[in-house]
Amino acid sequence: MLLRKKIQYGRPGSAILDADAAGMRPENLVEVRNLQTHFFTDRGIVKAVDGVSFAVPKGKTIGIVGESGSGKSITARSLMSLIDPPGRIVSGEILLERQDGQIVDIARLDPFGSEIRAIRGADIALIFQEPMAALSPVHTIGNQIIEMIQIHEDLDDKAARDKAIDMLRRVDMPKAEQRIDAYTFELSGGMRQRAMIAMALACRPRLVIADEPTTALDVTTQATILDLLRELQSRDEMSVMFITHDLGVVAEIADEVAVMYLGRVVERGPVDDIFEQPMHPYTRALIRSIPKLGVRGRHRLEAISGMVPHPSNRPQGCPFHDRCPEFMPGVCDRIVPPLEKIGERRDVSCLLHSDVEALKAASEQETTSDE
């Protein structure tokens, strides 16, 4: 306890904001603005999330795509304020509209405080990739769902159990009345994932964060889980933030897409635009590099050269410049591209789409004023 008093948890300033002052657009449930989550390790600062901005629209699905090390999972955990030391949210805002219309900045909440605990599970729920890591092996799935319900709602044991059975039915768990007393080892991979989804949805959250929920599943099971998520979403009008590395899954489920690379959003927009008119060279390269079903005949894939650098060894300027086919020497390796708005709900972070001269002038001014 002594230790906890010494460390300043959460960031100063009030977490509860006035709706007008926050400037949130009414169609958005969550707005993430310039989020930075860094890890202070012995070997230096790892900027896992370094200036991420995106919005989660109400009742829609946003797909967050990126390779490993792009910071997509850390972004998701930041939204729940679940960053383990030595990591910390350093700056930025995570604005959430709560059920009662109040706007809260999650980035400013104490990660151990009662406010965030009231939000976790009730407003925002998380579905993990590996159900065995998220579910307890020594409790029945029913007990875990009931515990979750009773934390957030004032229900007696009987009512909570009925609600848990109802949740299991809603995720199409076969024989829900019996399976509620099953342990995780008695269930198949697809059923475990269903149990976890039931638990996540038990308190009717407004936002579900699904972190690679189908990556460990077979394609046939994946297809049914994706269908289920889509169905539940349209019925309950919840928002889903779907994190994946699989462009096929994103095309299947997302309404909007944010593409991440090395802790930054490089491109964002409606799913059709992202796949039909990708503006960022990384998005273009990513879409071209995957084998597509239906393309016959022998050909080579257009692979992206090189590999994702380690976040502690981030290149100067645009993080993608050393792998980019449209690299402009003297520009891309000097200037960090800002996220530019290029259309309705459409942003891209690439100097091909920015006013390079203005940025150059601005950065020179900054360096002279620093001196």
Partner: protein, 357 residues
């Protein structure tokens, strides 16, 4: 061992024969894992991981082997490289000069020379490399066992590293200094060290990131062309399999349900399971998601220790009829060199994936 060449061996004799263009043929291959129960370790049954599999691999082709987890595709691959000893059945392998041997019958000493011919690339680039050996030792170990001279091994390792796109100077480094994609390249270099004729690639690109996966697939294709390799490409990702394979075999609960050349299998599947698999794959094109007309598969993969009666797929099959519930369909030949294990392959009009530009 028989001295008879396959060309002269007569049908009906016990001498194994293979067609001249065949490299490997599995005949009634079974791999069963016994289940023991109770205090007395009573034999309570078998997990039929691979059950009566017939499959032939032609020289110089890439044969894709697909199926859901637990279908026996990995076990099949592992018994071909003889990490596992099959319970019964034959693994007929045709040597370079035409002699045919049954690898399933050989003991470790007899297998020694074939270990150089049939090699494996593993899925996990982290657990498949010994962290205490340098890259040079990892790749060179097999050459040392096969009796190469030290100086030759050194040259060979450097040559292989260059071939897989790594710098020969890295020969003294340990695996931890490499990324996942680079480690997989080391694994590929190791598999090629002995100039193998058949490489079993078990989910070799599944653990890699999208951009690294494309590089690795290209590398595997280049190496195949350069060295005239034959691949058995075991994978669950159908788009990767379609990209790399010449022919594709589909497995379900330990059995092959369909074999065909890539274009026919993906364009016009003949087995309902193949159709369901193809339409479960998410397409990286938001426009095509609205076109899904094939119903998604319900239910779970059958338990290989306790499979259903009749066709193993019938509880999930949308086209199942009474015959399917009692009679198990055998893998039979269809026109065009394809094989399918379905009673109604001719009658059903199944939907494939249309070719796109």
């Amino acid at each position: 061992m028989s001295e008879t060449t396959p060309q002269t061996a007569m049908a009906g004799t016990t001498e194994p024969t293979l067609d001249t263009d065949e490299l490997l043929r599995l005949e009634s291959l079974c791999v069963h894992f016994p289940i023991y129960k109770g205090l007395l370790r009573r034999h309570a049954g078998d997990v039929r991981a691979v059950d009566d599999v017939h499959l032939s691999v032609k020289k110089g082709e890439v044969l894709g082997l697909v199926g859901e987890s637990g279908c026996g595709k990995t076990t099949t691959g592992r018994s071909i490289v003889r990490i596992l000893k099959p319970t019964s059945g034959k693994i007929l392998y045709q040597e370079e000069h035409g002699k045919v041997v049954d690898l399933a019958q050989l003991n470790d000493r007899q297998l020694f020379k074939y270990r150089a011919d049939i090699r494996m690339v593993f899925q996990d680039p982290f657990s498949s490399l010994n962290p205490r050996l340098t890259v040079g030792d990892i790749i060179g170990e097999v050459l040392e066992i096969q009796g190469w001279r030290k100086s030759d091994i050194n040259d060979r390792v450097r040559y292989l590293l260059e071939k897989v796109g790594l710098r020969p100077e890295y020969v003294g480094r340990f695996p931890h200094a490499f990324s996942g994609g680079e480690r997989q390249r080391i694994g590929i270099a190791r598999s090629l060290a002995t100039n193998p004729r058949l490489v079993v690639a078990d989910e070799s690109v599944s653990a890699l990131d999208v951009s690294i996966q494309a590089q690795t697939i290209n590398l595997l294709q280049d190496l195949q062309e350069e060295f005239g390799l034959t691949y058995l490409f075991v994978a669950h990702d159908l788009s990767v399999v379609e990209h790399i394979s010449d022919r594709v075999a589909v497995m379900y609960v330990g059995k092959i349900v369909e074999v065909a050349d890539k274009d026919s299998l993906f364009g016009s599947p003949k087995h309902p399971y193949t159709e369901a698999l193809l339409h479960s794959v998410p397409k990286p094109d938001p426009k095509r998601r609205r076109l899904g007309t094939v119903p998604k598969l319900k239910g779970e993969v059958a338990d290989p220790a306790n499979p259903p009666r009749g066709c193993y797929f019938h509880p999930r099959c949308p086209y199942a009829q009474d015959k399917c519930r009692v009679e198990r369909p055998a893998l039979r030949a269809l026109p065009g060199g394809r094989q399918v294990a379905c009673h109604f392959a001719e009658e059903l009009d199944l939907e494939g994936i249309p070719a796109v530009e």
